[in-house]
Amino acid sequence: MMEKKNNKVSVICPYCGAGCRFELIVENGKAIGIDYEPDHPVALGALCPKGNSAVELLNHPERLTFPIMRERNGKTRRITWDEALQFVANKLRQIREDFGPDAVGFLASAKVSNEENYLFQKLARLFGSPHVDHCARLCHSPSIVALSRALGSGAMTNPISDLENSRCILIIGSNFSENHPIVSRWVLNAKDRGAFIIAVDPRKTPTTEIAHIHLMIRPGTDGILLNAIMAQILREGLANYDFIASRTEGFEHLKDKLRQIDIIKAAKQVGVPVGDIVITARKYATSPSSAIVYCMGITQHRYGTDYAASCANMALLCGHIGRSGAGIFPLRGQNNVQGASDMGALAEFLPGYVRTDDVEKRQNVAKLWGCDDLPSGGLSVTEIIGAILDGKIKALFVMGENPIVSDPCSAETEKALSMLDLLVVQDIFMTETANFAHVVLPAAMWAEKSGSYTNTERRVQWSPKALNPPNEAKSDLWIIGNLGKLLGLWEIPPQPEDILREINLAIPFYGGITPERIATSKEGLIWPCLDENHPGTSILYSEKFHRENGRATFVTSEVDFEASISHEPFSLITGRVAVHYNSGSITRKLPSLLRYTPNLELTIHPSDASELGIKDGSTVLVKTAKGTVETVAKVSSSVRQGSVFMPFHFPETNRLTPKDLDPIARIPSFKDAKCRLLRKDK
């Protein structure tokens, strides 16, 4: 593996949001191995199992290599690029004439580069359709809404490596040992230095094993727990009153609400001993610098936005923000979900988090793009599926997404996709969604095109092109650029560097992240980076918050969280596994990863299992309002009594999940699913 004549190209890992970097060893146009970069700030060169499978992914035999057209009768035939793009352009123009521009939906992707997402949402909005969204809706849209309202921006406040300096780390709703493995290094370093680690998770996971105390809460009671902890902090007078006085507002409202909370009752509802809540409150409040690390366990709920807001409230209450080791760490799932949200590939946001209903700022962006106004009132991913079913949306352009597996209630999604007049899917594999597509466009992978990616700690890194895509596959930028040309939106398809310069103009906090600065540097720049010689800011809010008056605000939710507890037979928790990635459309195709978790398993508590007569390995029928799935049972005490766990990397899981949305962030409440179990005797 160590021959001298091949060349090593330093690329970003295409999987999770950590943004690790490694060297891809390329020999005459083919990836043959990887090497590690011990001086990269994110993870000192470490890679998780998924990162190590990069070569196998690049050389995968089943990759899409030429455009495919599906006829009316379902037969598919190979077509050329001109034919494909021409057909899509004509069909889109024709649908726009017949039903108007907002009859077309656009799904961007959190796995493509910033430039491609920027151009994609620009194409959609110049075409006239307000419906641009991507899967950040399904993961951290509550964080974007809640944190930007409370603090001014929805991103992580400190870099991941800064967790090493925390003296107390509260991990709530995150299983980073499996989903962001490199985070565990920094948390373990903190633990070695004497930090106190608290884990809140309805399941026992490798992450909760790191913690000193594990609050095994009843699923869906995160909000009650957070309020109880804050109430205890207030009752013991451990809040940081001068921080509250000098840098926040709206504290009175929260104080009155927290006064009424009876911590004993709350502990009973949450299902953890009161002592643990008191210890958590004291340790978090009294430690010199505390961090809150959270992920899907907080956001994918009916009240996800309120739970995320409670995390912000808790940090503000004790002043644990804006310092080394103190901050809020929402861990993003995909390698460029932070970048895609920054680029405005969201229904209610234009690039730089300009709200689409803010007419005055919207017109500035329109002026930049050379038109007078831009559409607003776009629908989110799940609402688009609903609109298709009502016949309002006729065409859908999907880039690098697999809604059938990642969206809730797949039966509805399948029905909707089959009703469309035009479904275009641009992906690297023939995914479940691509099977329904009229036109399938082969895309290049991350290492076969150059572009910038923003990881979860707001670090924008450039990933150069290491090798050419397999025969006819093209980079997403080439596809969108040429489609836009055919639609008459711009003359020449732009290069990544030109788009990045346009991004520097359009988004103030990307102002200084120019191609010249990041193309050669391995660490990249952490936004906000306002101009050419701005070094980037690794820790946010050290002086003031990104709000008009520079003060953060407490967001008190009027919602009665008790209502969210329901005592139906089983609560179904969906989540991730170390070796698989999101919809699994990539990792399920890689034998070196599939062998560790080959098939879907339902984890059930031993006493529930014996009650239903289920043994290890027996087949089980899982029933919810949305569907029924048959799977294999695994008996383990890693779940609470009365709850079961299923990883969502397999197509069956999201057949079961409910569709009711969080009212504000419109995120489906994956984690509030309820189900019934039946033993299926052979």
């Binding site: 593996m1 160590m2 191995g33 990887i34 090497d35 590690y36 011990p38 993870a43 060169g45 470490a46 890679l47 998780c48 199992p49 990162g51 190590n52 499978s53 070569v55 040992s177 499996e178 493995p181 490199i182 565990s184 290094r185 373990l188 370093n189 070695d192 230095r193 004497g194 490798p206 992450t207 790191i210 170390a578 070796v579 070196s592 560790y596």
Partner: protein
């Protein structure tokens, strides 16, 4: 630079998160067969300084070269005796199938079928159980990369390269900093 012998591949077992990244990295660096098996922490050759596997190997196919225990492929007969001499089960096996070039004289009598096929069939391939073990990434070390692939890729820092004495003293210092400091301040009444 301390001698290579004292530079050990050091495992902090309580840091292992069971993610199998080391197995995958080892597999890629050694052409498809991983020398690591993750149980509740990674298991691979400890490169012992008084190795039982060397004493057991009747063909001296296992050799200690500057701190690393290496299995010499062309001397090794894949007999599998050393596998049961290793107290940790760190010597591993992979079953491969290898083609047989038909030689005119060599044949296999198969009693059952002897009447039907005149008693001779010529098998096309055969199963071999290959014996392999961790070589401390000697190839990487010679190419100037100090750390073995598993230590380089381990996301949680469970596998590291440390000198024994340095590892022990860092543990002592950490014990002091984490546990003894608070004890001391109470006894003396001084706050550090």
């Amino acid at each position: 630079m301390q001698s290579m012998a004292s530079w050990k591949i050091f495992i902090n077992p309580e840091r292992c998160i069971g993610c199998h990244a080391c197995e995958m990295a080892c597999e890629q660096t050694h052409g498809g067969a991983s020398n690591i098996k993750v149980q509740c922490a990674p298991v691979f050759c400890r490169h012992c300084e008084v190795p039982p596997c060397i004493t057991v190997c009747y063909r001296n196919a296992i050799e200690m070269r500057n701190g690393k225990i290496l299995l010499i492929k062309d001397l090794c007969t894949n007999c599998g005796i050393c596998i049961f001499a290793c107290p940790f089960g760190a010597i591993m096996t992979t079953t491969i199938t290898r083609r047989i070039e038909p030689k005119e004289k060599a044949h296999r009598d198969v009693p059952l079928l002897s009447r039907l096929f005149g008693g001779k069939i010529f098998p096309k391939e055969r199963q071999i159980v290959l014996v392999h073990k961790c070589d401390g990434c000697v190839e990487r070390a010679e190419a100037g990369v100090a750390r073995p692939a598993c230590a380089a890729t381990c996301p949680s820092g469970a596998i590291e390269c440390k000198d024994i004495a340095q590892a022990s003293s860092s543990k002592r210092i950490r014990t002091y900093e984490v546990h003894l400091v608070t004890h001391l301040t109470h006894r003396e009444g001084t706050s550090l």
